[in-house]
């Protein structure tokens, strides 16, 4: 009896350890660094599935516990997806290949329409792709995302088999493990996704910001750029600076005590403590001479510590200054 228990436990354990590998092998959707990623050829998206009526904010990567209203979300990690006409189809899995179904298997289906349970026409979504479907029954399904890039020149696809609902005792260990994995993913992802994007987009900027912080913090009204090339001060059209008021700054830029003219400037700002930027997108609109530049569109929408970072390019020398202010 004990032996029987032990061996069935071993089988369960084996099943459990096998399960994550299944999850890894689901066609076009894979888990990378705790992030669920859909690969539409080389175009990638952050893929999330929700069952908000039952599970609230819980995120799923592909297999779903319930036959209920389900929201599919694809956030683009590649801008081309936001410009492509993307369609979205869900079919009942009639390929017999289950988790290993690929596009070739789907292409062999005689009447795709007959097995289609959801089809969204090709649409260009500049921000995010969202699709809702109310699953009426449990079963095996295949999702197909098709992106038409550059008109109809290139057609890219992601095919991901998934399961809705879990039946049979054999799936329980897998289910429990999946739940655990989802909880862990939920726990770990709170900062990961953002960091992932930022690391890709602005690793250099972040590094610069970090480097500059101690230097700029030490000075009151003048800030020295990270490599010491430029010294910057500013005068605000709104004095004192109040929150929620759009206004302009006049920047004064010097290098070795001499005014810097003909510089090209790019600015951004944000609150490091809150991981967000400014509500506006400020821009240098005019050079006023003698090292003065007009920076317009400044607005701060909450009190606290802000950083305004300006990249200065002049006479072949590029450096970034980070000005700090407490509101």
């Amino acid at each position: 009896m004990t032996r029987l228990l032990a061996s069935s436990f071993a089988v369960l354990l084996l099943l459990a350890t096998q399960a994550p590998q299944y999850a890894q092998a689901h066609g076009g959707v894979v888990e990378e660094e705790d992030l669920c990623v859909i690969k539409v050829n080389y175009l990638r998206g952050h893929f999330k599935i929700y069952q908000p009526l039952i599970d609230g904010h819980n995120e799923y990567c592909e297999d779903l516990p319930n036959a209920t209203e389900t929201v599919f979300v694809m956030e683009y990690l590649h801008d081309s997806l936001g410009e492509a006409a993307v369609d979205f189809r869900i079919i009942r899995d009639v390929t017999g290949k289950g988790r290993f179904a690929r596009w070739e298997d789907v292409a062999e289906i005689d009447d795709l329409e007959a097995v289609t349970i959801l089809y969204r026409e090709p649409t260009v979504d500049p921000d995010v792709l969202t699709v809702i479907h109310d699953f009426k029954e449990e079963g095996d399904f295949i999702g197909i995302v098709t992106a038409n890039v550059d008109g109809d020149q290139k057609i890219y696809r992601a095919v991901f088999p998934f399961e809705v609902g879990y039946t049979g005792l054999g799936y329980w260990p897998f289910f429990i493990l999946l739940l655990l994995a989802i909880q862990l993913q939920y726990f770990f992802m709170s900062g990961r996704f953002k960091r992932w994007r930022e690391n890709r987009a602005a690793a250099a900027v972040v590094a610069l910001l970090l480097l500059c912080a101690p230097i700029s913090g030490a000075l009151a009204d003048e800030w020295v750029s990270s490599r010491g090339v430029y010294t910057v001060s500013f005068e605000s059209s709104l004095e004192p600076i109040e929150i929620n008021q759009i206004h302009a700054w006049i920047l004064h830029i010097t290098s070795d005590g001499e005014p810097v003219t003909g510089a090209s400037l790019a600015g951004s700002g944000g609150m490091p403590a809150h991981d967000h930027g400014m509500p506006t997108r400020p821009r240098v609109t005019a050079e006023l001479g003698n090292g003065h530049y007009r920076l317009e569109g400044m607005r701060f929408h909450m009190g606290g510590d802000w950083e305004v970072s300006i990249e200065i390019k002049a006479n072949g020398r590029t450096d970034t200054v980070v000005m700090t202010l407490a509101l």
Binding site: V71, D127, N244, G304
Partner: protein, 397 residues
């Protein structure tokens, strides 16, 4: 003195010192605010609300004749072809110009929760997603929305033309109404209808609440006050401190009128709302915006439009509503997803990951008592409007 006597005296001295220390702070003096706190409280006080800024895009914004006409149009159902819907159908004065429903209902089901218009003359943006940049441009949209007034500009202009009183009022302010079939003239007259309605809406302002009276007491250095209970004071402390509410609900209207993603769950049966990411595209394309030919702004730089942020950062972001309208404006959030303040506070306390975009809020770690105190404070923001009663009824009633 032997060792045990020494220990004995040491214990006595420590106990007495501890008792003295405790008695000085007992009962805990929750009414003491630091200078920094007082400075923050002053920024939230309604007395810090500056004079209403001009609306350069609307030449009749402060014209009392336009306010009178706008007042009449706001309550008039003839602007809708069905003769059943007025602005006031959804913006009900007795509910602080909201309707008590999850989503507005005109001739059909509208897409979002009806926002209050109290104090929004201070806002650079209108609607939950800021898809309009002035009150008058906003006032035009429902008239042509198939789910709201269900009409169009031709109908609205002809409704004004057909009514002798409206016609006289209109022409005294704006000049002659257009002939039927004059498309350009109709567009201009339509814009003018919006400008008159905006001139009325600008008058709807919040009044001082118990919170403001409490701040006045603090600012004038009153030591003993009876305006706030200990729980309400604790709630206010959380509001400006641990609960981080003033990150967005700041300034005298308790809103920064900016766009934030706070991870509110999608509405049942709908995909998550893109919010500002879509709204910013709409306001830039709106022919009635600050830069458009119907705007009266002499300065066409229109800084708010020029420097508006777009893209992923504002995906799923919605305009911070004023907390001065909490009373009578439930259900809350952009689709009325939450019915009670307790639900709202529990949501911010948890700060779940957003379905789309990035939830800016962080989990707060407030306990049940703190949540109750915060709610007790929020309830002190209730106050009657500062607007003359006559504007809160249809004209002549």
């Amino acid at each position: 003195m032997n060792r045990s006597t020494g220990t004995y005296w040491l214990v006595v001295v420590i106990t007495v010192a501890a008792l003295v220390a405790v008695s000085e702070n007992w009962p805990p003096d929750t009414d003491k605010w630091s200078d920094a706190d007082v400075a923050v409280l002053r920024t939230l006080w309604i007395g810090s609300l500056g004079v209403l800024p001009p609306d350069p895009t609307n030449a009749v914004a402060n014209d009392p004749r336009a306010s009178e006409l706008g007042h009449a149009l706001f309550f008039d159902t003839r602007l809708s072809p069905s003769g059943t819907i007025a602005c006031a159908t959804c913006h009900r004065p007795e509910l602080r110009f909201t309707d008590g429903m999850q989503k507005g209902r005109g001739v059909g089901q509208s897409k979002r929760n009806t926002p209050s218009i109290v104090g929004v003359a201070y806002s650079p943006w209108q609607y939950w997603d800021g898809r309009r940049d002035s009150q008058w441009a906003q006032a035009l949209s429902p008239i042509e929305d198939a789910a709201e007034h269900g009409g169009n500009r031709e109908h609205a202009v002809s409704a004004v033309t057909a009514n002798d009183e409206f016609r006289q009022q209109y022409e005294a302010i704006f000049g002659l109404l257009p002939e039927p079939g004059d498309a350009r003239g109709t567009d201009t007259a339509f814009a003018n209808i919006g400008k008159a309605i905006a001139a009325y809406e600008r008058l709807i302002m919040p009044g001082p609440s118990r919170f403001d009276h409490y701040v006045e007491a603090v600012l004038s250095g009153v030591e003993e006050q009876t305006l706030y209970s200990a729980d309400e004071i604790a709630g206010l402390r959380l509001y400006i401190g641990k609960a981080a509410c003033t990150q967005c609900h700041n300034g005298p209207l308790l809103t920064n009128y900016e766009f934030h993603n706070t991870g509110v769950l999608s509405f049942p049966g709908e995909v998550p709302d893109k919010g500002r990411a879509a709204g910013v595209r709409q306001v830039l394309a709106d022919p009635f915006n600050c830069r458009g030919e119907f705007s009266d702004a002499a300065d066409r730089s229109c800084a708010e439009l020029e420097f508006a942020r777009s893209g992923y950062e504002v995906l799923g972001a919605f305009r911070t509503p004023s907390l001065r309208n909490l009373e009578d404006t439930e259900p809350y959030m952009h689709k009325g997803q939450m019915f009670t303040l307790a639900e709202v506070l529990a949501h911010y306390n948890e700060a779940p990951l957003s379905m789309i975009g990035h939830n800016e809020a962080k989990p707060l770690g407030l306990n049940a008592v703190e949540l109750m105190q915060l709610e007790a404070f929020l309830e002190t923001l209730a106050a009657p409007l500062a607007t003359d009663e006559k504007w809160l009824r249809p004209p002549g009633e």
